[in-house]
């Protein structure tokens, strides 16, 4: 992806990376949805905070968090 093509992902409430704002508010009771990947079938699906941990396709009990779409940058020395 070119640098121009990079988009700041529009997360639900507060845009991440907006570090200028000192404080952001966590979301309503249900929590934000994030997508996770099934450890067995590789199916990607959203999950809320209180949801039971299992793949909705195959019932697998291990889920992987996806790699962030945010820009990850650090000094490589």
């Amino acid at each position: 992806m070119s640098r121009e093509g990079y988009q700041i992902p529009t997360a639900q409430s507060s845009a991440p990376g907006a570090s200028s704002t000192q404080v952001s508010r966590a979301d309503d009771n249900m929590g934000t949805t994030m997508t996770y990947m099934c450890g067995d079938c590789g199916f990607k699906f959203p999950l809320k905070r209180q949801d039971n941990i299992r793949c909705i396709e195959c019932g697998c009990r291990v889920l992987y968090k996806e790699r962030t779409k945010r820009m990850v940058q650090f000094e490589a020395r």
Binding site: Q12, V62, K65
Partner: protein, 1241 residues
């Protein structure tokens, strides 16, 4: 045309394309590296043997037999009471499956090993037992109960990945060459160590001085027989020789020892008479044995002394034994004394000869075996036969992990019936006194309610055993240790991992032994235990490794034809005590008969021929331990064995030019040529297939190890296992706490064919480096090495550590984990989310993958929740808690795993975070070649300043020539030559040891290759200084050597401290690098500092940086303990210097008679209670070690008072400063002998 099967033939070449293909398309038929699986198989096969139809557990159940319980009054006689008898019908194990409560997984309900690793749980399957019981003489009824979840060995018959091809294994998230052989307990891979134990069913002649401690007249002579039941549990029987010529039979039962006159056992076994026993021991009246007066005297005495018991018939003796051993054996009250005596013989005496449904013939086998043991004992005492060495492999066998596992299961099952059920029944009968066994309620309650009360979770007990390695057993399982049975199969690198399975331990009991005899390398070990591969230090010689061709039998081979054949070859049942007349022929500890020594040799040779030929029903793996008759040597005979747990190894049988398997008992009496040229005609019967067969897998990986001094090869075996290598290819699915990985792994240029056969190219362990042997900068002194900075920058030796942090919100509860969810991951819904926490955390409160984590960064966020009226989980306090990253090293979040429960009905409660920590080589990191030449990297030298050769080659590594003369690692020189030639010609060099000799030297072979490549024949090259550009005066030895990076890195080692955490009691620094503790300045360090006269340093280390503390002390009574601060009624809690008083020296005002306040000298002070005191003013502040005060307090608690003499010279003196000259001071000392300052004062 069918696709050809994956080839399993390997030579030493690189096979780059073939390996590439194996990687890209893992074979779907079989592994290309069968040797790896064979190396691990003993573990798997021993586990498989457990739950087969006629498996070890089934046989164990037969030994447990039926248990009978009575109802009614316990003290009443058994007559008229109802009885319930119960026995195990069978025990079944299931594969790992999801519990039926989980309704969400539809397609696949199997739990694979990889899931257990990822979820940090145990790989286990449901264990259930079917019981059969009958009340009085009713029809038997059956019921089945689940008795817990049993940890299952990976790749055993009860494992899902048992028959997976490499391609399937990859799909199942395993290594393509997954070997199994271990258990997964809480996500950690554990294996049961192989243990060396005494050879089974073989009478060992022992001389052990500690035998004398058994009692008066006991001598050090004894015969030990470790008798093994069909279910692989063992019972050791010992015969002791008493100084008066008597013999006692000793055994241990439930950790207690019992002694029985051997005559009593003999008379109990069969209906016999004194003449039969006499002739059985000495021989028939016309035999030579009768002339042995030493023997006849003692046998006579044996028979005479037994008369005092007045027991003559078998029935009498058994009843007598039964009466004595009834409480010990814990048998049912319904049995008569005679039956208990029979049970005693069944369970304890020579159990290998008859353990269940003992027939009369089996009893007579036992009888004859005991006679042989007595005969051997008398021969030992007379000096006719030598003692057997219990530390030699000859007299040892291996206790396999699966068998030990089975032993524990059997014992737990036994306990469940005998102890558990008895207690539960008693409790039930106490609760419902009216109910008898025949009542209806009992019939209903028995299978359910009563069993629920027992501790029937056998799986849990086994899981505890696997995770701790501790054996909690009432009988001790005839083993000498209770802990250390399991070890973690560390996947630091593949060499270490595979070594775990080939590891054989002598037992932790021997580790405490002061003598070194058990540790000695004995010639008997040849070909069975590797002479090279043992650690140095405390486990040296106790922790051995199997030679790579050594195989462990896990099944009995069919030897049913042997007794008949032996009889046909002239074995008779009559014998004599004279071993030059008749020697014993035994099979599996059963006496087949006797023959003359000459016949015995012919017999052994014939059997051997048939065995290798495969004819006459003599199995190839039968061990024919032919011990020839000798004068004062080992007790002669033919000891054949077809049973499991033996070590065997392949050799070539010369008469047939075929493979023969030989065991450790027969080997010392055979002539096996090491190489073809060493065969002596008429003497050698066998020849080794390859001299390298004696080495372990790891020792075989050392190139040209025959050129090295032997300890160096040992060091390499150690360092190979500490190398930062490649643990495997399925790193993505592994969750080991710590994993090391090298980024730049290469295949060695110099390797043996076994490197390929074992597939070590799948797990590279190091890198080929250009090594120059030169003293160049001075930074290569004392085993330091210099690394080319440019090589370093290109990634030379770069490594990574993966750490896994498991974060769980569940309260770890020992008993039952709480069902309720009290915490959830994520930010509390109503809380303010601080920006600093969002630096590393995502919306879900879990770390962002790929982000950099430093010390103090947040790893995850969580908050408390509780259920509201509708069952929703609500956060009420609005507080977000954070878990922090505490390590001081920078890491990167590699993976975040959200782990659900087995039932799939729980929100996120556990996560496991894998962090990647880059470890590029830094100064102080350790490297080593494959020849025990380790060194510390001391400098990264700029490439421009490195020396260079005429072809422009710069070394990657510079090592000092002084590393060689004393260590004599010529193999490293040869590797350097071979590596260089191989690199130039693009060849893989075969480095198998024992391939070169004096005529065809390695130096010549590789020298010529170098010459062909245009290099110096000797491997030296002219080199130029990188700094001046001048040619160096000497030619430099440069070559290519395979280097390993060891896991010891300075970053994990450095430890500094001035102040920090201290132990609360003493005030001294705590131990441990992790906690910021100090390194002890011990006695020897203190001595060194003292010797140097560095008083200030000593003061600093021992006092100021340790437990320096200031304390008040009373000068007068010299105590720390009696001082107390005064309390002023006016000032409050203000503390000033002069307000500490000695309570002991002070007098309390209200205790003084006729107090006149005006006449009191000194200040009146008040303690905390408002009491007024006077005096005790002579206190002062001193600096003392905190430990001293602690000691004082401890001693005071014991009623010991410490009194410190405080020198009056440094008492505070009031008044102006005294001016004195130096001379005045000197004269003052002379005149008074006291301190001048005082004199002046």
């Amino acid at each position: 045309m069918a696709p050809t099967a994956t080839s399993t033939e390997w030579d030493h070449e690189f096979h780059t394309l073939r390996r590439e293909k194996l990687f890209r398309e893992p074979p779907t038929d079989r592994s290309a590296y069968p040797l790896l699986q064979i190396a691990v198989n003993p573990h798997i096969e021993s586990f498989d043997a457990l739950f087969e139809p006629d498996g070890l557990i089934a046989r164990g159940l037969a030994d447990i037999d039926t248990r009978t319980f009575l109802d009614g009054d316990e003290k009443a006689s058994p007559v008229g009471r109802n009885r319930v008898s119960i026995r195990y019908k069978n025990v079944q194990l299931q594969k790992a499956q999801l519990p039926p409560a989980n309704k969400f997984a539809i397609k696949n309900r199997d739990i694979l090993p990889a899931e257990c690793r990822e979820r940090h749980v145990t790989y286990r399957g449901k264990l259930s037992a079917t019981f059969e019981y009958r009340i009085n003489d009713d029809d038997p009824k059956e019921f089945t109960r689940e008795i817990g979840q049993l940890p299952i060995m990976v790749k055993s018959k009860y494992c899902h990945i048992r028959n997976s091809s490499p391609a399937q294994l990859v799909a199942q998230k395993e290594e393509s060459e997954e070997l199994g052989g271990y258990f997964i307990v809480n996500g950690i891979e554990k294996i049961i160590r192989l243990l060396l134990v005494n050879r089974r069913n073989f009478p060992l002649a022992i001389y052990r001085p500690s035998f004398q401690n058994r009692g008066p007249t006991y001598t050090p002579h004894g015969i030990i027989m470790r008798s093994v039941r069909p279910d692989e549990t063992s019972q050791t029987n010992v015969l002791h020789y008493l100084s008066d010529g008597n013999v006692t039979f000793r055994f241990s039962w439930r950790k207690n020892e019992y002694l029985v006159p051997v005559m009593m056992v003999l008379k109990a076994l069969v209906e016999t008479n004194d003449r039969e026993i006499f002739e059985g021991l000495v021989g028939s009246p016309n035999s030579k044995g009768i002339q042995n007066t030493f023997l006849t005297d003692r046998v006579e005495l044996l028979l005479r002394t037994y008369k005092t018991y007045g027991l003559y018939t078998m029935a009498q003796t058994r009843a007598y034994l039964g009466e004595k051993f009834r409480p010990v054996l814990g048998v049912s009250d319904t049995l008569s004394n005679f039956e208990v005596g029979t049970e005693f013989l069944r369970k304890i005496v020579l159990v290998h000869l008859g353990n269940v449904n003992v027939t009369e013939e089996q009893d007579s086998d036992k009888f004859r075996m005991i006679l042989l043991m007595i005969r051997k004992l008398y021969a030992l005492v007379a000096g006719d036969c030598a003692v057997d060495n219990p530390d030699a492999v000859q007299n040892q066998e291996i206790l396999l992990g699966g068998f030990l596992y089975g032993m524990i299961i059997k014992e737990r099952l036994d306990e469940l019936l005998s102890t558990g059920l008895r207690l539960s029944l008693r409790e039930y009968l106490q609760k419902f006194p009216g109910r008898s066994f025949t009542s209806q309620e009992f019939g209903k309650d028995f299978p359910i309610r009563i069993f629920q009360k027992t501790n029937e979770n056998i799986g849990n007990g086994l899981e505890y055993f696997m995770s701790t390695g501790n054996l909690s057993s009432p009988s001790g399982l005839d083993l000498q240790q209770v802990s250390g049975f399991t070890v973690v199969a560390e996947k630091l690198n593949f060499l270490r991992f595979i070594s775990h399975f080939r590891m054989v331990h002598r037992g932790s009991f021997f580790a405490q032994l002061k003598t070194t005899t058990v540790r000695k390398l004995l010639p008997e070990s040849w070909g069975f235990l590797c002479p090279v591969h043992t650690p140095d230090g405390s486990p040296c010689g106790l922790l051995n490794h199997l030679a790579h061709k050594c195989k462990i039998m896990t099944k009995s081979v069919d030897a049913s034809a042997i007794p008949q054949l032996a009889a046909e070859l002239g074995v008779v049942s009559t014998s004599s005590a004279a071993t030059d007349e008749s020697v014993v022929v035994m099979l599996n500890g059963k006496i087949l008969g006797w023959c003359s020594p000459a016949e015995s040799r012919r017999l052994a040779d014939t059997f051997r021929y048939w065995k290798v030929e495969g004819s006459h029903g003599v199995p190839l793996h039968l061990e024919i331990g032919y011990v020839p008759a000798s004068k004062g040597g080992s007790y002669p005979g033919i000891y054949m064995s077809s049973e499991p747990a033996r070590m065997v190894r392949p050799t070539k049988y010369l008469p047939l030019e075929k493979e023969d398997f030989i065991g450790p008992l027969e080997q010392p009496y055979m002539s096996i040529a090491c190489t073809e040229p060493e065969i002596t005609s008429g003497e050698s019967t066998h020849v080794e297939f390859d001299p390298t067969n004696i080495l372990s897998i790891l020792a075989n990986m050392t190139p040209f190890s025959d050129f090295n001094q032997s300890p160096r090869n040992m060091y390499q075996c150690q360092m190979g296992k500490q190398t930062m290598g490649t643990p495997g290819a399925s790193l993505r699915y592994r969750t080991d706490n710590k994993m090391y990985r090298i980024q730049t792994g290469q295949t060695p240029i110099v390797r043996s064919p076994l490197h390929n056969a074992y597939g070590f190219d799948n797990f590279p362990n190091g890198f080929n480096a250009v090594v120059a042997v030169i003293s160049y900068t001075g930074y290569d002194m004392d085993d330091a090495m210099i690394i080319n900075k440019s090589a370093h920058e290109r990634g030379f030796g770069h490594g990574t550590i993966y750490k896994v942090k498991k974060i769980t919100l569940k309260e770890e509860n020992r008993t039952k984990s709480t069902k309720n969810v009290t915490k959830l991951f994520g930010f509390a819904p109503t809380s303010l989310v601080k920006a600093w926490s969002r630096k590393t955390l995502d919306d879900d409160g879990l770390p962002i993958i790929g982000t950099m984590i430093q010390e103090g960064d947040t790893l995850c966020a969580w908050h408390t929740v509780s259920a509201d009226y509708s069952g929703n989980l609500v956060n009420r306090d609005g507080q977000t808690h954070y878990e922090k990253y505490k390590d001081s090293e920078v890491g990167f979040v590699e993976e975040v795993r959200v782990i659900g429960s087995e039932l799939g009905s729980e929100p996120a409660q556990t996560i496991s975070i894998k962090l990647r920590i880059p470890r590029s080589p830094v100064i102080g990191d350790k490297f080593s070649s494959r020849h025990g030449q380790k060194g510390v990297m001391s400098q990264k030298w700029p490439a421009i300043d490195m020396p260079f050769s005429e072809s422009g080659i710069q070394p990657d590594i510079i090592i000092n020539p002084h590393a060689f003369p004393s260590r004599m690692t010529i193999g490293m020189f040869v590797e350097s030559l071979a590596g260089k030639a191989g690199a130039m010609h693009g060849l893989a060099q075969d480095s198998t040891p024992f391939r070169f000799d004096e005529e065809n030297t390695a130096g010549d072979y590789f020298g010529h290759q170098l010459k062909m490549a245009g290099y110096n024949y000797h491997g030296n090259e002219p080199m130029y200084s990188g700094i001046t550009g001048e040619e160096l005066a000497a030619d430099i030895y440069v070559g290519v050597v395979y280097y390993q990076r060891l896991r010891h890195m300075v970053n994990d080692k450095y430890q500094v401290r001035t102040t920090g955490p201290v132990v609360a009691t003493t005030g001294q620094p705590i131990k441990g690098r992790k906690r910021g503790g100090g390194i002890r300045v011990g006695e020897m360090e203190r001595d060194a500092l003292l010797a140097h006269g560095t008083a200030f340093l000593l003061q600093d280390r021992l006092m100021n940086c340790s437990d320096y503390s200031r304390s008040w002390i009373c000068r007068k009574c010299g105590s720390f303990l009696s001082i107390q601060p005064t309390a002023s009624p006016f000032v409050g809690k203000k503390k000033t210097v002069n307000t500490v008083r000695c309570r002991n020296c002070a007098t309390r005002l209200d205790h003084m008679e006729d107090v006149d306040v005006t006449k009191i000298t000194g200040e009146i002070w008040e303690d905390g209670q408002g009491n007024q005191w006077v005096g005790g003013e002579d206190t002062t502040l001193v600096a003392v070690p905190g430990a001293l005060k602690y000691l004082d307090v401890e001693l005071a608690a014991m009623g010991i008072k410490l009194k410190y003499r405080v020198n009056p010279k440094d008492a505070p003196r009031k008044g102006h400063l005294l001016q004195t000259t130096w001379d005045a001071l000197r004269s003052g000392v002379k005149t008074n002998g006291t301190q001048p300052a005082l004199v002046a004062a």
